[in-house]
């Protein structure tokens, strides 16, 4: 009885919350409609809440300017992001497996060293990283960026995957060893398939972090062949088209679509991963 009256009371509250949510998401809506307006309508007064003519004009301008340099930024970002995901998985999966199931002398120290990256953000290491990259001739290269992203985004994945592997029973591992399977084979064909959710949350985490990075790409690149999409938008917005809000909004929209779509489809895994370290059971 008590519960029923409560849920009735909640209807106006629910409407209020939805209204708040609509206001909350308005900035994204405003970005989308601005990107689909003609230039004169973008600057129209009073502003039009819905474009009177939807158009790809701004996107067309964005993608054709300077021989399609924006497409180059986009492709660079895709290459850097995918490579970082692959490299991190390639190094994090075996280390997590070893830390969880093949303890060796000093394995605890190794784990603590990995986690210490959480304590020292890369923002403190911009200068030595810059000097290192120039020394090994990886400044202004995609490969240099990929290596740095991989180093700093890897610990979170090791932390998450180690927990996932540790939860799988030791008996599973031991019986496979008795069957004569190699450790590498056990890892790939037995443990990996059982840890898909954790691997998916690693992939989303890596995708969002790498795709959205601005500071590292901004500091360690100097040419359009390497720059990522965030630096590209900043470059357009600050220098080339400083008050062309059509180009800025269409570029911004293209930059946010991949992460938002990925996030909406796979948010369950993402939230699981983000909160796995936050709350102790």
């Amino acid at each position: 009885m008590h519960r029923k009256t409560n849920s009735f009371k909640n209807i106006p509250i629910a409407i209020l919350i939805i209204l708040v949510l609509l206001i909350f998401l308005f900035p994204i809506y405003w970005n989308i409609v601005t990107a689909f307006k003609y230039s004169d309508e973008i600057l129209a007064y009073p502003p039009k809440l819905i474009p009177s003519n939807w158009t790809f004009f701004q996107f067309n301008k964005l993608l054709t300017v300077s021989n399609g340099v924006f497409i180059q930024f986009f492709i660079n970002t895709v290459i850097i992001t995918i490579s970082t995901i692959l490299l991190v998985l390639a190094v994090a999966i075996p280390s997590s497996f070893a830390l969880a199931k093949l303890p060796f002398k000093g394995s605890r120290i190794v784990f603590i060293l990995f986690l210490s990256i959480f304590m020292v953000p890369f923002q403190c290491l911009l200068v030595p990283l810059y000097s290192l990259l120039t020394k090994i001739r990886l400044y202004n290269t995609k490969f240099g960026l990929i290596l740095i992203y991989s180093t700093f985004f890897m610990p979170f994945c090791i932390f998450m995957l180690k927990n996932a592997f540790a939860q799988l029973p030791n008996a599973l591992f031991e019986s496979a060893i008795l069957d004569g399977a190699s450790k590498r084979k056990i890892m790939i064909s037995l443990f990996l398939p059982l840890s898909i959710p954790s691997i998916v949350s690693c992939i989303i985490y890596l995708f969002i972090e790498t795709w959205n990075d601005f500071i590292l790409a901004f500091m360690f690149t100097s040419s359009n062949e390497v720059r990522n999409i965030q630096v590209g938008i900043m470059n357009f917005g600050k220098q080339r088209f400083s008050s062309d809000w059509g180009i800025i909004n269409s570029g911004t929209l293209i930059a946010i679509i991949p992460t938002i779509i990925l996030f909406i489809i796979l948010q369950k895994y993402y939230i699981q991963g983000m909160t796995s370290g936050a709350v102790k059971e």
């Binding site: 949510l21 909350f24 994204i28 394995s107 060293l113 911009l126 000097s131 290596l147 938008i233 709350v279």
Partner: protein, 285 residues
């Protein structure tokens, strides 16, 4: 048969860690005591870089800017995050939808969210000025990012908008770990909802709250992108954060050694924040 090749499995990760984390970490400390030049011999100059930094007015100004930003943005993230977490605690379809909606801006990059807000806040064509004008609150367009305090507030607002969902999710995770029998007991007692919140919910989620708080404080100290896009550090350097100063000293003034010294000071500040994080974790367990 007994041979354990665990270390071999870790080797690739250890190499990455050594090369791009441990080596730079040692190097930043060494560089901070050197007159460091890009090509040529680096000479040790003792504490000169630190002394010069502490004597630089701009250093104290950016430290102050960062602190002020932290003090503004933290409650702006935190209070709504706590409010929505408590409001959307129950798992049902509507709440799930709302949670997703609030969390969506977190997937957006800081560069993108900063441009989205810079456009909304534009003094001549921005929709915020138009709306305020319609309601008769202002007569002419306000240059939101042109004056110190309003720029600080607006940058904080855009960041709070982007990251509030993340804090909410962390707090939600803490709330969901509270057993429902505790709430049933209080509802039998007839305690009011507000009293239950302050006397039961808040103390029980305190460790999670503190974690979310420490994460957002550390995050605000590392702020950079939003300042570059929205104000470029202006007006009169009043929105210039530490990171912008570090990169300016290194790449505009070419004082690499001094930039390393500022980085070390900054690292010590962040480590003391993290120290509280660890202490809280122990307290929790």
């Amino acid at each position: 048969m007994k041979k354990n090749n665990g270390l071999l499995f870790c080797l690739p990760a250890i190499i990455l860690l050594g090369m791009f984390f441990i080596y730079p970490l040692f190097n930043v400390i060494i560089m901070s005591f050197q007159n460091w030049v890009v090509l040529g011999n680096n000479t040790f100059i003792g504490f000169n870089n630190y002394i010069n930094t502490f004597q630089d007015k701009e250093f104290w100004q950016v430290l102050g800017n960062t602190l002020i930003y932290c003090l503004i943005v933290t409650p702006m993230i935190f209070i709504p995050a706590l409010f929505f977490a408590v409001l959307l605690k129950k798992t049902n379809k509507l709440n799930a939808l709302l949670r997703t909606g609030i969390f969506i801006p977190y997937a957006i990059s800081l560069v993108a969210s900063s441009y989205i807000w810079t456009w909304i806040l534009n003094d001549t064509y921005g929709i915020l000025n138009f709306i305020l004008n319609q309601f008769g609150l202002i007569n002419e367009g306000i240059n939101w990012l042109g004056t110190t305090w309003s720029a600080r507030f607006m940058i904080s607002l855009s960041v709070a908008w982007k990251t509030m969902g993340f804090s909410m999710i962390i707090i939600l995770a803490g709330l969901s770990s509270i057993s429902s029998s505790i709430y049933e007991a209080t509802s039998i007692d007839g305690s009011s909802k507000i009293r239950t919140f302050f006397s039961i919910t808040l103390p029980l989620v305190k460790p999670t709250l503190m974690l979310a708080l420490v994460l957002s404080i550390a995050g605000s100290f590392k702020g950079y992108d939003q300042f570059v896009i929205m104000t470029g550090g202006g007006p009169m350097r009043t929105t210039e954060p530490i990171i912008m100063y570090i990169s300016k000293v290194a790449f505009d003034y070419y004082e690499m050694g001094r930039s390393a010294a500022v980085s070390v000071v900054f690292l010590i500040i962040l480590l003391s924040i993290s120290y509280y994080q660890i202490k809280l974790g122990e307290y929790d367990a």
